[in-house]
Symmetry: C2
Subunit: 352 residues, 2 copies
């Protein structure tokens, strides 16, 4: 039951191991007769030979192996899509992926990087579960790509979601439906504020381009970004006097949108008839199974995973600028947006 080695093939074909290697790897420029080639290939197939990747890795100094190191990515529902993208790209290029989860523990991270470097991975992908700025960890090899995070000091290719464009799409969807009083249920403040900051910026931009003066009461930060926070923010929005009360809410993410649903329902408000809602993330189990299904902006995790892997493998050129590549976030239209209630539309028009 021992593994078949190249020498077994050589013996079976009556040639040297050199010949077997030359033939099986189809090395151009090697002068082996067609007859011998056939014999070697038959022998290899007969004994069921597959090369030992470890031995080959040692000799070639290339392991066809990738390290994917992440904070808590693998334990979040997004992670799957990111990993799937990375996996698919890796498989297409004949690579295998080492997955390591550090749980954001710096010591675990350090050990993991070292272990992966010792494994001679051809490249490394440093992934985050949410779009943020990270310090480049020590020991990260030259061939590293940042996934869903931007290295504070640059120097490595990186890919992040285009939160600015995505945020614009979300708010424009509401403006296009006729809303004028649009709130933003924002997440907690983090530093530096990447996703949140960009989505807020997008919110302000689109309001400005629609000629709407934002009411400061329309922007509330949660203590976190859970449904509870979304609910709390929405309750405060709905407490606003009639002519300032939003007819639509852009939520930092789908979970907060789920909270907005709860708050609306508790007031007897129908979505979207009485209140339109747009989320962000397209978190399947939240957005898709809400009632009514939530219109949201998808985070392109699969595409980012793929991009990072292809760049890591040298199959795709990163942008020359040293700026992160911005992956588009498509809007997913479901049933949580409609035109504002007539009364609100009137009152808004009155105000304008």
């Amino acid at each position: 039951m021992a593994r078949v080695r190249i020498s077994d093939v050589a013996a079976a074909a009556g040639v040297s191991t050199s010949t077997v290697s030359l033939v099986l790897n189809d090395r151009p420029g090697s002068r082996i007769s067609e007859e011998t080639r056939a014999r070697v290939r038959e022998a290899a197939a007969a004994v069921g030979y597959t090369p030992n990747s470890i031995a080959r890795g040692l000799r070639m100094q290339r392991t066809r192996t990738l390290g994917l190191i992440s904070d808590v990515i693998a334990t979040t529902p997004f992670a799957g899509r990111m990993l799937a993208g990375a996996q698919d790209a890796a498989r297409e290029h004949g690579h295998l992926i080492f997955l390591v989860n550090t749980d954001a523990d710096p010591e675990v991270e350090r050990d993991a990087i070292r272990a992966l470097v010792d494994q001679q991975v051809d490249a490394m992908i440093y992934a985050s579960m949410w779009h943020r700025v990270v310090e480049t960890p020590d020991g990260l090899p030259e061939r590293s790509v940042f996934l869903d995070c931007r290295p504070a000091s640059g120097g490595h290719p990186a890919v992040v979601p285009d939160d600015l464009a995505g945020g614009r799409a979300a708010v424009r969807e509401l403006v296009a439906a006729g809303h004028r009083r649009i709130a933003f249920a924002d997440a907690e403040k983090v530093n530096p504020p990447v996703a949140s900051g960009l989505r807020y910026q997008a919110y302000l931009e689109v309001l400005a381009e629609a000629g709407i003066t934002p009411d400061p009461a329309w922007h509330i930060r949660g203590v976190d970004s859970t449904a509870a926070s979304g609910r709390a923010a929405t309750e405060r929005f709905l407490d606003l006097p009639g002519d300032r009360r939003p007819t639509a809410i852009f939520c930092f993410n789908d979970r907060m949108a789920a909270g907005a649903y709860v708050a609306a329902r508790h007031r007897g408000l129908e979505i979207p008839a009485d209140l339109s809602v747009v989320g962000y993330d397209d978190q399947q189990l939240v957005a898709g199974e809400l009632d009514p299904p939530l219109t949201t902006i998808a985070l392109p995790h699969y595409e980012m995973g793929r991009w990072a892997t292809e760049v890591a493998l040298g199959a795709r050129e990163p942008p020359a600028s040293d700026q992160p590549y911005l992956m588009p976030c498509p809007i997913i239209r479901r049933d949580s947006v409609s035109s504002p209630p007539a009364a609100a539309a009137n009152s808004s028009r009155r105000r304008a």
Copy 2:
């Protein structure tokens, strides 16, 4: 910038590579003076030496590497916990994990197994995203463990959730709250019916032990196991005449329970006052963010991932019986269960 090799350490310490290896690996029985040991260790630290795992793997025939092969696990929200368990166990034992996702494609699976075997993984974990029976794939090495699935023909250790005990706990929770008319919103039929079959069996057992004769109308299978199916089933339950209408529903999973919530709400029913609901899976983003939070049975993914990895690494003995190890599923009590409405309790008592 080239990697530091053992020979660099040897040169720096003025000894042979053998000595370095002996010292750094602390091989018992090797006779190296304490003075030389110190010199070697200093030299190693000074030049920043870490052994090349590939070279060591080739020589030792042990790579401290594990293959984790799964169908669609990495793209489901459970996956994270399973991976986290596997990761943690692997890290504790100094191992790295190759993660491969086959998307249930047999060809991809075959290639993946071969690639992992070629990488000389020390052991393999074959994981499924849901508890089911699988054929043992060709080429799987001796040292393989099945995770969240049972091999049809045995021969390998396996770990699955104890769906029978979990199902009993769920239904007993409802019985203990005083319910007598308890429905089971089941998933679609699959063959062989593992999770669904066991949970249904548990349902029947607990009803029997409570002296309740199950009404056949209380068991409905969905076309799948989504919220839509849960909603459809619940609507049919609620259409039952008053004295046969369930006061509590055990749902195959949390998504179906989310559907039950929607159906109840559309009838103006309060949960849990008018209808108690228990789910299964403890899918965080569903169960935890429903309103009211859902009482459910947790699937022990983390623990199973850990168990499988520890067995794969030989750090834990699998059961001698060749039967899958049954991992307990704890009940997570939240707010979706209360005693039945007074009227229903009366009518039920009348029937009894």
